[in-house]
């Protein structure tokens, strides 16, 4: 089985186009009340850059590559972890009148609210 991925030329442009379109449509459905968590949440999503940093660092063969790669992983991990932490905190705060969260998530939401 051939597992290699070739994303060159037009294939890459198609991927970019479809992803941009999907992002535009998905985000267009997010209500204004959630715009801050949306922003920190999408901020978290581009934290995936840490994977690129790991690739660069693990393949490093010189000291400067190790240094820059370390920097990339450090920042990327900060982006991902920080973005997740604040988004999760904010979303746990949104409650409807009478604190009636959907039953199956009540205990969890309660726990986060306390944390």
């Amino acid at each position: 089985m051939d597992l290699s991925i070739a994303m060159t030329g037009f294939v890459a442009l198609y991927v970019f186009m479809l992803a941009a379109f999907a992002g535009w449509v998905i985000i267009g459905h997010v209500p204004a009340i959630l715009h801050t968590p949306l922003m920190s949440g999408s901020n978290f999503v581009h934290g995936i850059v840490v994977v690129g940093g790991l690739f660069a660092l693990l393949n490093a063969s010189t000291e400067s590559e190790q240094g820059i790669g370390f920097f990339a992983v450090l920042l990327g991990a900060g982006n991902a972890a920080g973005g997740f932490a604040v988004t999760q905190r904010m979303l746990a705060m949104f409650q409807i009148s009478g604190h009636k969260k959907p039953a199956r998530r009540r205990s969890k939401a309660h726990h986060h609210a306390k944390a």
Binding site: M7, T36, V45, V51, G52, V73, L75, A81, S97
Partner: protein
């Protein structure tokens, strides 16, 4: 055969991550499903990060001898960067969220720039297209890093005033042109092998320096109230940079995640600009509030100050109250006290709603988060288009720390810098109470005709202190009635 297994797992994990990110963001379409959305996206991230350690089975010959050190470095970087940011993210006050998001965003841009730097210094990229994309990603990532850091410094209050000099735009354009020219030298040096004047690594360093300087210069002149737009722009740019570096590394998960965020950030940016009735270019390139002062027609009437306790009691006996929160509420950290007051009103059968303007605060939706933090149920919070018609039927509009977003000049005064901006119709309410620190003008530096209206009462003071007085007044009333 077995050598393919790590590759298979990495590919599957990245694919799962890309799907879970989009599914998670899709679940953000309602406050009820959103908490599970971020968890779903989080699992995607975890899977992708863990799987990427399997790269150790496919590293090049040159990196083999460094593998032990590299793995240790990776673990340390993940623990320090991830742990530190996690800790700060759990601890940060909700009012400080805009600068925190700016900071995390800058980190993402920096990481994308660093990946590009590894590729460029190692001359690992092949062909002019890949090299060009690497440079473009590096440029955008570096601009996003330094720009986000300046935005953080402004929001944190480290930089207090917008820094503006004459000919700023010409300087910015020159820096950008020079950076692009240096990028051309990097391409020529890497592809041709021949060094122009300087060695290629020096050109690369100059390229990054130029991009970083541009990010700083571009952000310095932008004022505090324009920050919702600026944060959106940098979020979008970081996404774009990540997507481009994903192309360079041939990693579709990075390409997809980056481009989804790039498009999302662009959409939010346009929404914010629309909510201010200004173009994005106008926000970034003009010094708002510095515009030559036009002759403002003297506003008829006078300001009428009232006591906080009287205002509180008036609202206690009102039927319908709409509250308009603004950045002043966040600055005074008064969101908890506000909801305490609202609960007293609700106990007295007053119908209370919140009206939030799209650009109230320092990032899109900041007021919604602050109200949610205080415990206000989200079904009481309404956006501009959903509540604007209700003001005419409201007994009281309570404006707390908001100014330009309720200025009727936006509707009527063609010469006003905010003319055409959609505003909350607080002036249509029977009575208006404005909680304000002093008689100062709003961010835009314009007088607010609302304050001079016959139905308007000014309550001067820090929002927190004013609300405490209102709460006391309404409580005393209840006690007196019970006695």
């Amino acid at each position: 055969m077995f050598t393919q297994i790590p590759q298979l797992i990495i590919g599957a994990a990245d694919l799962a991550a890309a799907f879970l990110f989009m599914y998670g963001l899709q679940r953000m379409s309602s406050p009820a499903t959103a908490p599970s959305g971020i968890m779903v996206a989080g699992f995607g991230m975890l899977a992708a990060v863990l799987a990427s350690f399997l790269y150790v089975f496919s590293v090049g010959a040159a990196a083999q001898s460094h593998l032990g050190v590299n793995i240790s470095l990776a673990v340390i970087a993940l623990a320090v960067g991830g742990g530190g940011a996690w800790w700060s993210g759990r601890k940060v006050a909700m009012t400080a969220m805009p600068q925190m998001v700016a900071l995390y965003n800058g980190m993402g841009g920096g990481a994308a720039g660093a990946i590009a730097a590894v590729e460029l210094f190692g001359a690992k990229t092949h062909g002019p297209t890949q090299l060009g994309v690497t440079l473009l990603g590096a440029l955008i990532g570096a601009v996003s890093l330094s720009g986000s850091l300046v935005a953080w410094a402004k929001l944190q209050g480290v930089i207090k005033k917008p820094l503006r000099v004459k000919g700023q735009q010409a300087i910015n354009a020159a820096v950008m042109a020079a950076t692009i020219a240096v990028g051309g030298c990097v391409i020529a040096g890497t592809l041709g092998g021949a060094s122009l004047l300087l060695a290629t690594p020096t050109w690369i360093l100059l390229f990054f320096a130029g991009a970083l300087v541009f990010g700083v210069l571009m952000t310095l002149p932008i004022g505090g109230a324009d920050m919702p737009v600026v944060i959106s722009i940098y979020n979008s740019l970081t996404g774009l940079a990540v997507g481009l570096e994903g192309f360079v590394l041939q990693n579709p998960a990075l390409m997809i995640a980056g481009m989804v965020v790039g498009a999302a950030g662009l959409l939010l940016t346009l929404l914010m600009a629309k909510a201010m009735n200004r173009s994005v270019a106008n926000v970034v390139f003009t010094n708002f509030g510095d515009a030559p002062k036009h002759a403002q027609g003297a506003i008829q009437g006078s300001l009428r100050p009232v006591e906080a306790s009287d205002a509180g009691i008036a609202m206690r006996y009102a039927g319908k109250v709409i509250i308009v929160p603004g950045y002043g509420l966040a600055a005074a950290q008064a969101q908890q006290k506000l909801y305490e007051f609202v609960k007293l009103l609700q106990a007295a059968k007053v119908d209370v709603k919140f009206a939030v303007h799209p650009v109230a605060g320092r990032m899109p939706g900041q007021m919604d988060v602050l109200l949610a933090e205080a415990g206000v149920p989200y079904d009481l919070i309404f956006q501009l288009e959903d509540i604007n018609d209700d003001f005419a039927a409201a007994d009281v509009a309570l404006v707390i720390g908001a100014n330009d977003v309720v200025n009727p000049a936006a509707r009527t005064d063609k010469s006003s810098p905010i003319y055409g901006m959609p505003i909350l119709n607080a002036d249509k309410a029977k009575q208006v109470y404005v909680v304000k620190r002093g008689e100062g003008k709003g961010y835009a530096g314009i007088q607010n005709a609302l304050f001079y209206g016959d139905n308007c009462n000014m309550v001067y003071g820090d929002a927190q202190a004013v609300l405490v007085k209102m709460i006391e007044a309404v409580r005393d009333l209840g006690l007196a009635a019970a006695a």
